[in-house]
Symmetry: C2
Subunit: 422 residues, 2 copies
C-alpha cells in the first residue's frame, strides 16, 4: 500500500463531467489499495471570473480580501469532487488549506509555506477516506488569515503535503504526457523524458519549461519528494522527478532537454561611466523597483571613452517598471540612455554534469552557428547553457540544438554524451 498525493489542475476539473472522470481515477487508485490525498485547483475559469467581479467593485482591492475571494474557487471544486467520489461509493472528505494545516507567511497573494501540519488529513486517511485538499491556499501563522500561494500554488501545496505526509509519490496531473526534451509544438520529434533530477528540472523550469513551476520543484528537492508528472487523459507513466544516482550525475554528461522562453526583454544601459560601483547602482535601482533580473552582460570599456554598456534581461511584464526606475537615477549615475528590446528569445540546454565536458558547449555553439543563429548573451551554470538570440531565430535554434544532441532518438532514454557509458 502506497500513500499517493495527486494534484489535478483547473482544466482537469473544469466541469461536472471532468470532475466525475477525476473521481473515477481517484477511486480506482483507492481501490487498488493506496491511501489517496487529492489536491485540486479551482474549476476552469473560476479564478478569472472572480477577478473580474473584484475588478467591477474595486480596481485595487485589498490583498487580504482578494485572497478571501479567490479561495472560494477551490472550495467549490473540492466539494464537488468529494460529492462525485462519494457517488461512486467511496468515502471522501474535503479540507480547506487551513483545515489541511497549510501554514504560510502573511504575504497575501504570494504567501510562502512555513509549515504543514496535516493532522486532519492523516486522520481522514486512517479512516479509509480519500482526502481532498484545496490547492493554492493556506492560513497565515501570525494573523490566522486566509492566504494564497500565488502562481503554481496548487503544485506547491501538493508537494508540501506529500512531504508532510511522507507520501511515496506526488503525482502532478496535467494536459501533456510529461516533461519533454523540447516543446513538441516546435520540435515534432521531441521525446518524453522518463526520469530527471531535481536540479535539472529546476533549470528547465527556470528556463521557460511550463509543465512544473519553479517553487514546486524547489520544495520537492528540499524534502526529497518523488514527483510524477503525468497526463490526466491516459494511464501511461509520465516523467519522474527524483534524485539521480551520484555516479550518473558526476561521471556522465547527460543532456536532458532544451527549454526556451519568449517572455523576456532586454534592457541596455548605454554609456555608463566605467568605474567601480556603477553596475551596482544600476542593479540596485532595478531591484528597488522589485524587478527580478535574469541574465546580465557588461561590455568592456569602449576604447578611449571611459564608458561602457550594461545589458540585462527581465520579464517583459516588468519592462516599464524597470525603465522608469532607471530614468530616475540617470543623472545621478551618469549614463546616456536606455534601450529596450522585446524581440529576444532565450534558449537553454540542460543536463547534469555538462560543465565538466567541454565537448558539450563546442557542439552547442557549433549547432547554433551552423543554423546561422547569432548569439547575443551567454550564461551558464553547472548543468545549463543559456543564450539570448533574436526571437525570430528561436524556433530554428531550438530545433538545431535538439538535433545536434540527438534528443529525439527514441532509443536513448537519456543521451549520454561522454563518459563511461551505461
Amino acid at each position: 500500500m502506497a500513500l499517493v498525493v495527486a494534484k489535478f489542475g483547473g482544466s482537469s476539473v473544469a466541469d461536472a463531467d471532468k470532475i466525475k472522470r477525476v473521481a473515477e481515477r481517484v477511486v480506482e487508485q483507492r481501490r487498488a489499495g493506496n491511501e489517496v490525498c487529492v489536491v485540486v485547483s479551482a474549476m476552469g475559469d473560476t479564478t478569472d471570473e472572480l477577478l473580474e467581479l473584484a475588478e467591477q467593485v474595486s480596481p485595487l482591492p485589498p490583498a487580504r480580501e482578494l485572497d478571501m475571494l479567490l479561495t472560494s474557487g477551490e472550495r467549490i471544486s473540492m466539494a464537488l469532487l468529494a460529492m462525485a467520489i462519494s457517488k461512486l461509493g467511496a468515502e471522501a472528505r474535503s479540507f480547506t488549506g487551513s483545515q489541511a494545516g497549510v501554514i504560510t507567511t502573511s504575504t497575501h497573494g504570494k504567501a510562502r509555506i512555513i509549515d504543514v501540519t496535516p493532522g486532519r488529513i492523516r486522520g481522514a486517511l486512517d479512516e479509509g477516506a480519500i482526502a481532498i485538499v484545496a490547492g493554492f491556499q493556506g492560513v497565515s501563522q501570525d494573523t490566522k488569515d486566509v492566504t494564497t500561494l500565488g502562481r503554481g500554488g496548487s503544485d506547491t501545496t501538493a508537494v508540501a503535503l506529500a512531504a508532510a505526509l511522507h507520501a511515496d509519490v506526488c503525482e502532478i496531473y496535467t494536459d501533456v504526457d510529461g516533461v519533454f526534451t523540447a516543446d513538441p509544438r516546435i520540435v515534432p520529434n521531441a521525446r518524453k523524458i522518463d526520469k530527471i533530477s531535481y536540479e535539472e528540472m529546476l533549470e528547465l523550469a527556470a528556463s521557460g519549461a511550463k509543465v512544473l513551476m519553479l517553487r514546486c520543484v524547489e520544495y520537492a528537492r528540499r524534502y526529497s519528494v518523488p514527483v510524477h508528472v503525468r497526463s490526466s487523459f491516459s494511464t501511461k507513466p509520465g516523467t519522474w522527478v527524483t534524485e539521480l544516482p551520484e555516479a550518473e550525475l558526476v561521471e556522465q554528461a547527460i543532456i536532458r532537454g532544451v527549454a526556451h522562453d519568449s517572455s523576456e526583454a532586454k534592457v541596455t544601459v548605454v554609456g555608463c561611466p566605467d568605474k567601480p560601483g556603477v553596475a551596482a547602482a544600476v542593479f540596485r535601482a532595478v531591484a528597488d523597483a522589485d524587478v527580478n533580473l535574469d541574465m546580465i552582460v557588461q561590455v568592456g570599456s569602449i576604447a578611449g571613452t571611459g564608458r561602457t554598456d550594461i545589458s540585462f534581461t527581465l520579464p517583459k511584464t516588468d519592462g516599464r517598471t524597470a525603465l522608469a526606475a532607471l530614468d530616475k537615477v540617470r543623472a545621478e549615475i551618469g549614463f546616456d540612455r536606455t534601450l529596450y528590446d522585446d524581440h529576444i528569445g532565450k534558449l537553454s540546454l540542460i543536463g547534469a554534469g555538462m560543465k565538466s565536458h567541454p565537448g558539450v558547449s563546442a557542439r552547442f555553439f557549433g549547432a547554433l552557428a551552423d543554423a546561422g543563429v547569432n548569439v547575443e548573451i551567454i550564461s551558464t551554470s553547472e548543468i545549463r547553457i543559456s543564450v539570448v538570440v533574436r526571437d525570430t531565430d528561436l524556433p530554428g535554434a531550438v530545433k538545431a540544438v535538439h538535433d545536434a544532441f540527438e534528443l529525439g532518438d527514441p532509443d536513448n532514454q537519456a543521451v549520454v554524451y561522454a563518459g563511461s557509458g551505461r
Copy 2:
C-alpha cells in the same frame, strides 16, 4: 457611539452595483461614529447555481460537502463588500463563520448555534475596522467542520452576533419597509408596524409572515436583542422588534396584524377507532417520518359507529411523506383511509393580550361570517387566533379581518381594542 450589527440579504448584494450601494450605506454608519458589523448572504442566485452544480455531480451529495460547497457563496459576497468599503476609504475585514466564532452543532444543512465567540470581530471593531461576517455558516464544535444553519440562517447569524457583541441593535435590511399589519399585496391599506414585541413577531413569523424567520426571532427574544427590520432602499425607520412594557402586554388587547399562509395542506385520517391511543399512534407515525404538524382537530365520535376522523395541517412539501408514513400503519391502527386537501389557507390574527378580551374573537369570527367565509379548523394561543379556510377564500378573509380591526387606520400606531385607552 452605538454598536450596530447590520444584515443584508442576497438580493441586496446581487451584483457589483448593489454591493457598492451597501458599502456606501455601511460607511455612512461608520462615519456617523458607530461601530459596524455587517452580516451578508450569498449574492443573488449563487446558492441556486451551486446547488445546480452539485446536482450535476451527484443527486444526493453528502451533507458535509454540500455545506462546504454552499459556504463559498458568502465568502464571495463578503470579500467583495470588504473591497467596496475599502475603495470608499474605510477599513473593512471579512470573516468566515468559523473565523467569527459561530460555533454550531454538527447537523449539516441545519446546524444550530451553540455559542458565539466573536474575539476576532471585537478585535477588528476595536481597531476601527468594519467587520464583515459570512451569514448562514458556522463551524461544528465537535468535528470542526464547516456547517450551514439552514433557511433564514443569515438573520440568525446577525442576531446571534448582536447578542454576543452586546450590540445596541441588529438591523435586518430587506426589500420591504418593515413588518406590515397584513400582506400589502392582498390588503392595499396595510400599514407598517412601528414596534412589535418578540412574542407577537414570533406568532407572525410562525403564521406565515415571511419578513423574519422564526429561528431568528426566537434567538432575539432569548437574548433580548433589539431587532430593526428596515428597507435597504430607504433610510426611513422600519419595524422595531423588542420587549414591550409589561403594562401594554397585559392590560390592553393590542391587535398587531394579520398573517396568512398558503403553504400548508390538510390531511384527514378517516374512520379511526374511537379509543385511547389511536390519535397518539397517528401522530407518532407522522413524527417518525420527520414531519412537523401545525394545526390538529379531532371530530368527536360519529354517532353509532365508534369511529372518528382526525385532521391536521402540515407543509405541502411534507404531504407525500406523511401519507406514505400513514399508509404503512393503516392496518395496525385500523383506520379506513386518508384524504389529502392542498386547497386550504391559514389566516392568523396576532396581538398581545387578546385572550383576556373575549370581544376580539367575537369581532374576528363576525368579520369572517359577514364575508361568507367558512371556517374549517380553529387554533388559538395567548396572542393569536388562527383559522383554516378554503384557499380561494383566503384573500377576502384577510381583508375582512384587517378592516374589522381597523388595522389600516393611519392614526393608530397599535390598535387598542379594549383596555384603559391611550
